[in-house]
Amino acid sequence: MAPDTGAPQSAPAADARPRELAQEDLQALFDVLTTRGWTVVGPTERDGAVVLAQLDSAAELPYGVGVALAPGGYRLRRRQDRAAFAHSAGPQSWKTFLHPERARMWQADRDEEGAVTFTPETEETAPTPRYALFGVHPCDLAAIARQDRVLVGGAFRDPVYAPRREAAFVVAVACGEPGELCFCASVGTGPGLREDAPCDLAVHEIADRDGVRLLISAHSPRGAEVLADPALPLHEPHPELGERARCQTEAAEQRMGRELEAEGLRDVLAETLDSPVWDEVASRCLTCGNCTLVCPTCFCTTTEDTTDLTGDHAERWRRWDSCFDLDFSYVHGGSVRTSGKSRYRQWLTHKLGTWHDQFGSSGCVGCGRCIVWCPVGIDLTVEAARLRGEAGASEEGPS
């Protein structure tokens, strides 16, 4: 089964050689994307955080902004350089744009005779936004692929996600500055960008005494077209730049603040459903659902059916939902998962375990957001390690 993700294919571009762009010329890339009909969304500093928002110009990027992370803690810090993408994951992820938190699915109207007409959303009623996702880190690129698998890789194509995803132009940026709670290296999603990374443009941002330079490669025919635009002041990369990029990725790999031993985790979680660890976590977990909202792969939604005042015009809306919500598992007579323990267990076992059974991979990409934005600082890498201890399934390989 080859999921038709509508994602950019990783066919080698006509001209795959990396090119160099000076940071001062990022506006030119913005302009090329805008001229071609994309709305650029990317990181910007707002309200004490690096958020993702529609950007009017490259000047809005968070130059020289870094972050300091701790379980339940997020602070901006000033960097020594002017790197624009050297901040680890913020409170949002790109699902905000591809899998919006609220969307109308259809409308229905009832006439005097009681006949009902259902009307799907069209390009007129809900035009598909064409986003250029600017500055997608490797963890988040993997997260988009995980959502692709869920929302368009099965038997049914999600009518909201699929067109947005197909229209999106993805500018991925290798991560040179992992945070204190990052663990993409141990789950295999980063910090580098593989040559077949599913994006349109792959960027390395190198900040050193020579300023900030970007090394850009096309990863799709569409990306190659953009790079071929004469309006872009690209030039032959400095001979050392490629090596610098490689070194940066290698160094980043060594600076992960967290580690998640992914090997065999699915089985560990399947074996520890009755572990007392869940009770202990539940004594701290507030079941607030923050982790599910910030998680870039969490995809769950619920529906809301509404009518106008006449009662003859109805709409179906869909909005994000959380497995921490008591109503999430409601069947007549009551909810299946009433205890906080069972809801935390559902979240963690799904993310790290049963996602494999359902969708063929882990649901965790190692971005660390759920640790940062948990108000009580629950750390899934710590909990997973405790469960591994419980299962007695630690690898007995050479130490």
Binding site: G114, F118, P159
Partner: protein, 296 residues
């Protein structure tokens, strides 16, 4: 897990209901009705026994309901609904001539995707080997999803061995599909039991699992179809195992919260499965572990 259902692939938008007309409404019990539905325009793809619909009450909401009859050679469908919440109450209030929204067919079916590959392939429409015995165990409204199984078996008697239908309800008042039950009872196929007798009840009193002791079937050549409340299904599966029916030969239809039925919304997760996509019918081999964990 079982294969994904045959789906409306782009020709029908699986997220949008189609308008169906309530052609007939039968009051089954004080709070349960069976609605016969026919398409007002375009019809949904053909259903198989065990598949389910999302039924939409205008402006109020949508619920998953297994199909309780499929018209042979037609587009008519029956659904049996108990008024237990806002949406099901609204659906139960619908009168003949009124419109309901229907999405489907969703999920696998009672045959678990086991289907004849060729015309002469020795597999029945219920996914059993020809001549095998069938045991159908229903608790309360669980009879509705099983009704197409019994109707199928009775329509092709030569294809199956012995058929046993065991039906339990809390009280005689709560029995659904009484016309069918009377007919099946007269044929000698059905045994009906209630938890609490009422004046005038001359049938058995007790659990549906008790009836299994007297049922005649060949365990190694039997497929069991079970639907009802989870405790009833667990007890039935255990009773069947004691009689020597293999776990892979016991099939159950499970229920979980569903919002989309298209495997996008996450609500129907049960451990490693999505009930809407991988079920709702599972073998006891698959389901035993899932139902054994409290609040999974």
């Amino acid at each position: 897990m079982t294969s994904t259902a045959v789906v409306p692939d782009g020709t029908v938008d699986a997220a949008i209901p189609l308008p169906y007309l309530v052609r007939h409404r039968l009051r089954e019990t004080a709070d349960t009705v069976t609605l016969d539905l026919v398409p007002l325009g375009e019809a949904l793809p053909r259903y198989r026994p065990g598949q389910f619909s999302m039924l939409y009450a205008f402006g109020i909401g949508e619920i998953p309901v297994s199909v309780s009859a499929i018209a042979p050679g037609g587009d008519a469908l029956a659904h049996t609904v108990r008024a237990v919440g806002k949406v099901s109450e609204a659906i139960c209030r619908l009168r003949p001539g009124e419109v309901i929204g229907v999405r489907g067919p969703f999920g696998n079916d009672w045959a678990l995707g086991i289907r004849p590959l060729e015309d002469d392939d020795p597999v029945t429409p219920l996914g059993t080997a020809p001549g095998e015995d069938l045991v159908v165990m229903a608790g309360g409204l669980g009879l509705s999803p099983l009704r197409p199984v019994v109707l199928q078996a009775l329509s092709q008697p030569g294809a199956y061995g012995w058929l046993t239908v065991l039906v339990g309800a809390r009280s005689p008042q709560e029995l659904v599909h009484r016309t069918d039950l009377t007919q099946w009872h007269a044929l000698g196929e059905a045994k009906i039991t209630v938890d609490r007798a009422e004046p005038g009840w001359t049938g058995a009193v007790g659990l549906v699992t008790d009836q299994l002791r007297h049922a005649v079937f060949r365990p190694e050549r039997t497929t069991a179809f079970v639907c009802g409340p989870e405790p009833m299904m667990r007890a039935s599966a255990e009773a069947l195992l004691l009689r020597g029916v293999a776990p892979g030969r016991i099939r159950l239809s499970l229920e979980r919260n569903m919002r989309c039925a298209t495997a996008w919304c996450g609500h129907c997760q049960l451990g490693q499965v999505l009930v809407c996509r991988d079920g709702p019918v599972f073998t006891w081999e698959q389901a035993a572990g899932l139902l054994a964990v409290h609040e999974l």
